[in-house]
C-alpha cells in the first residue's frame, strides 16, 4: 500500500517540476548571459586547476632532459630564422616499458588500493548504516565524530600511527600487557601498516557517501517488505543493499583513486620494499632529476585511472536517472 502511495506522490510532483523548468529560460531571456555566468565557475575551476596543470605535465613528458633551469628542453624552438621546430620526445614513454619496474609498481599500487577499498567498504558500511539508523539526536554527533579527524593535519595523523604501530608503540605494549603475544610484532614498515594507514585515512570518504544514500533511502520500502513477510536480514539484502549501490560505488571511487597515487602513507608507514608507483615517481623526480620521465609516469597513471572514473560517472548518471 505505502509503496504505491509514494509512487503516485512522486508522479504528482513532476508536472510542477516541469513548470519550474519552463520559468528558467524566461529569467534567462531577461538577463542575457546570466545562465552562462552561473555555469562558468566550474569550468573555470576545472580549466585552471585541472586542464592547465595537466597540459603542463603533458608538455614536460614530451620534452628532453637538459642540465639547467628548467631541467627540460623547450618543445618549440626556432631552429633557423623563420623555421619553428616542434620536437616531441616519446622516449620517456618508451622508458616506462623498457623496465618491468614501472608496470610492477603500478600493478602493486592497484592491488594495495583495491584491497584497501574493500577493507574500507567492510568497515565503513556498518558505520554508515549505524549512523543513518540512529536517532536524530545522536546522528549529528556521530557524523561529527567521522569528520573530526580532519581538524588535525593528515600528516600528523599518519605520524601518530607510527607511534601506535612501532615495535615499542601503544599497540604492541597493549598486546604484550594482555598477554596475547610474547614478542612485539613488526607491523610498522610492512605492507600491513600501509593498509592500516590507507583504511584509516580514507574511511570518512567511504562513510559519508554511504551515509548519504542510506539516509535518503525510503524506509517505507522496508515496511512494505515486512508487511509482505520478509525477515529484516532478507530485507536488508534485497532492499537496502541494492539501493545503496550508488553510495558504495561513490565511496569506493573516492577511496580507490587517491589510494593508487598515495605517497605519504607508504613512505612513512611502509618498508623500503613497499613498491608503489608514487614512490617510483618521487625517485624519478628527485633522485634522477628526470622531470620528463616523472611527468610521463604521471600522465600514464592518469590515463590508467580514466577507466575507473568513467565507470564511476556511468554509475552516477544511472543513480540520478
Amino acid at each position: 500500500m505505502t509503496a504505491i502511495k509514494v509512487e503516485s506522490a512522486s508522479r504528482r510532483s513532476s508536472p510542477g517540476g516541469r513548470d519550474q523548468g519552463r520559468k528558467g529560460p524566461a529569467i534567462g531571456r531577461r538577463l542575457p548571459g546570466g545562465r552562462f555566468l552561473v555555469g562558468l565557475p566550474p569550468y573555470l575551476w576545472l580549466g585552471l586547476f585541472f586542464a592547465l596543470p595537466f597540459l603542463i605535465v603533458l608538455k614536460i613528458s614530451l620534452a628532453e632532459t637538459q642540465i639547467g633551469i628548467p631541467p627540460y628542453k623547450p618543445l618549440l624552438d626556432w631552429a633557423q630564422a623563420g623555421v619553428l621546430e616542434l620536437r616531441l620526445n616519446l622516449g620517456n614513454y618508451r622508458t616506462l616499458f623498457s623496465d618491468d619496474l614501472y608496470v610492477i609498481a603500478y600493478l602493486n599500487s592497484l592491488k594495495i588500493a583495491a584491497v584497501s577499498t574493500v577493507l574500507c567498504l567492510l568497515v565503513g558500511y556498518p558505520m554508515a548504516y549505524g549512523i543513518a539508523r540512529s536517532s536524530d539526536r545522536h546522528r549529528n554527533a556521530l557524523l561529527m565524530l567521522v569528520v573530526l579527524p580532519f581538524w588535525t593535519s593528515f600528516l600528523i595523523r599518519v605520524y601518530a600511527w607510527m607511534g601506535i604501530l612501532k615495535t615499542e608503540g601503544l599497540l604492541n605494549a597493549f598486546l604484550l600487557w594482555i598477554g596475547v603475544i610474547l614478542q612485539p610484532l613488526q607491523i610498522l614498515e610492512t605492507d600491513l601498516a600501509v593498509y592500516i594507514g590507507i583504511v584509516y585515512s580514507y574511511l570518512p570518504f567511504m562513510v559519508l557517501p554511504l551515509y548519504a544514500t542510506l539516509e535518503k533511502m525510503d524506509r517505507s520500502l522496508l515496511e512494505a517488505a515486512a508487511d509482505l513477510g520478509c525477515r529484516p536480514f532478507r530485507a536488508f539484502l534485497s532492499v537496502t543493499l541494492p539501493l545503496s549501490i550508488p553510495g558504495m560505488v561513490a565511496g569506493s571511487m573516492l577511496v580507490f583513486i587517491p589510494a593508487v597515487g598515495e605517497f605519504v602513507i607508504p613512505d612513512l608507514l611502509g618498508g623500503p620494499d613497499t613498491l608503489m608507483i608514487a614512490k617510483i615517481l618521487w625517485s624519478e623526480f628527485f633522485d634522477n632529476r628526470d622531470w620528463p620521465v616523472a611527468s610521463a609516469i604521471a600522465v600514464a597513471m592518469l590515463v590508467a585511472l580514466v577507466a575507473p572514473i568513467m565507470i564511476f560517472q556511468h554509475f552516477q548518471r544511472r543513480a540520478t536517472e
Binding site: I69, P272, F286
Partner: protein, 368 residues
C-alpha cells in the same frame, strides 16, 4: 559579451600566474633558505643589528626540496645551503648559482684549505660555494649490545660492521639500519671492498650493489633519519648514519638517562664527507646582501657560536679557538688528520650513471 568576460577572467588568471616578485634595486632584505635547526639562536639578530638588513628565514629538511625549487627557477632566495655532493655539484653544472665575488668576502682567508680542496670536487676552483658545516658519514652503535653479540676482540672500526654477512648475522636480532641514499651506501660498500669509493664504473656499481643486496636480509630498515631516535632509545643497535645525527642520538641517550651508551666511528677505510655550503642562486634578488651575509657567517665569533649550538664542525680555522672544548676534542666531530685524509666527496656523475645508480638502489631495496 560572454566571450569578453571569459577573456578577462583568463587574463586575470594569467596575470596572477606570472606575477613575479618585485625586484627593487637591493632593498635591505635578504631571503635565506637553510636546513631546519642549523643556526645559532642569535645569528640573524646580530646580522640585522649590524647591517640593517632584514632577514626572511625559511627552512627545509631535504636537499631534494631545495633542488626542485632552484630548478623550477625564480625561487626568490638569496642564500641557500646545498650539500656539496651530489647536490651542489649538479646544481653548479646546471648553472644554478652565481659566482662568488671573493673581494666581498674578506673572511675567506680563514677557510681551511683542506676543506676547500675537497669542496672543489663539487664546485671547481671554489667559484660558487662557501663551506658552512662539515660532517662525515659513519656508523653509530649501542656499545653494550654490540660488544655482547660480537666475538671478543672484534675491532669496531670498519665498514665490515655494515657489510660483512658473518657480523650482520649476529647483529640482525637487535637491529641494523642503512641510510636510504645510494650516494652514501654504494661508496661505503666500495670502500669495504677495497675499491675506489669515488669510482663511476658500472662494474664497480654492480659490485657495490651486490654487497648491499647481500646485507639487505639482515637489515631492520633503510631510512635516513628514523635511526636517530631509535638508536637513542635502544630500539636498534647499529646504524649507518650522518655523524652529526649520530652525535645527536648520543646526546639524546645521555639526556634521557636510559642505560643506552652510543659509540660512533668513522670507518678506517675512508668515509663520505658531507659539506653543507652557502651559495647564491643565479636569480637571487639581493646578491650583494647575500655576499655580506656569507662573509658575516664565516666570521670566527659567529661560526663558532653556530658550531657550539648545532654540534657540527665548521671550516674556519681561527674559529677553533672559540669552539667548546668538548666539541673540539671529539674525534668524530673534529677528526684527527689521519682520518680526515681518507675522507672523500662523491664526484658529480653523468645522468646515465645516476639513473643506473638509482635503479641499482631500488633493486637493493625491493629485490626487483
Amino acid at each position: 559579451m560572454r566571450f569578453r568576460i571569459a577573456i578577462c577572467l583568463i587574463a586575470l588568471g594569467l596575470s596572477i600566474w606570472s606575477a613575479a616578485p618585485a625586484r627593487a634595486a637591493e632593498e635591505k632584505v635578504l631571503n635565506v633558505y637553510n636546513w631546519s635547526d642549523y643556526i645559532a639562536p642569535d645569528t640573524l639578530q646580530k646580522f640585522t643589528a649590524e647591517t640593517g638588513i632584514k632577514v626572511n628565514y625559511d627552512v627545509y629538511d631535504s636537499n631534494e626540496v631545495l633542488a626542485a625549487k632552484l630548478q623550477a627557477g625564480d625561487s626568490g632566495y638569496d642564500v641557500v645551503f646545498p650539500s656539496a655532493s651530489p647536490f651542489l655539484a649538479q646544481q653548479v653544472k646546471a648553472g644554478l648559482y652565481r659566482e662568488i665575488d671573493r673581494s666581498q668576502i674578506p673572511n675567506w682567508s680563514g677557510l681551511d684549505p683542506a676543506v676547500l680542496k675537497i669542496l672543489a670536487v663539487a664546485d671547481p676552483s671554489n667559484a660558487h660555494a662557501v663551506p658552512y658545516m662539515i660532517s662525515a658519514t659513519g656508523i653509530g652503535f649501542n656499545i653494550d649490545k654490540v660488544k655482547a653479540l660480537l666475538p671478543p676482540g672484534t675491532k669496531l672500526d670498519s665498514w665490515s660492521l655494515l657489510f660483512d654477512p658473518a657480523i650482520l648475522a649476529k647483529l640482525k636480532g637487535c637491529g641494523v639500519t642503512f641510510l636510504d641514499t645510494p650516494t652514501e651506501v654504494f661508496p661505503a660498500a666500495l670502500a669495504y671492498l677495497g675499491k675506489d669509493p669515488t669510482s663511476q664504473s658500472l662494474d664497480d656499481l654492480a659490485a657495490a650493489a651486490a654487497v648491499a643486496s647481500k646485507a639487505r636480509p639482515y637489515l631492520k630498515y633503510i631510512h635516513s633519519s628514523k635511526y636517530i631516535n631509535d638508536l637513542a632509545n635502544g630500539d636498534i643497535c647499529l646504524a649507518h648514519g650522518f655523524v652529526g645525527d649520530l652525535v645527536q642520538a648520543r646526546n639524546r641517550a645521555k639526556e634521557a638517562g636510559k642505560d643506552v651508551h652510543i659509540g660512533i666511528i668513522i670507518p678506517r677505510e675512508g668515509a663520505v664527507l658531507g659539506i653543507d655550503s652557502m651559495a647564491i642562486p643565479i636569480d637571487a634578488p639581493h646578491p650583494n646582501n647575500a655576499l655580506k651575509f656569507i662573509n658575516f657567517i664565516i666570521r670566527p665569533e659567529i661560526v663558532s657560536a653556530i658550531t657550539n649550538t648545532v654540534g657540527y664542525a665548521n671550516a674556519v680555522i681561527p674559529a677553533r679557538a672559540l669552539v667548546k672544548p668538548d666539541i673540539l676534542t671529539d674525534p668524530v666531530i673534529y677528526p684527527p688528520e689521519a682520518v680526515r685524509a681518507k675522507e672523500f666527496l662523491v664526484p658529480p656523475a653523468s645522468p646515465q650513471y645516476e639513473r643506473a645508480r638509482t635503479r641499482a638502489w631500488i633493486k637493493v631495496k625491493t629485490g626487483l
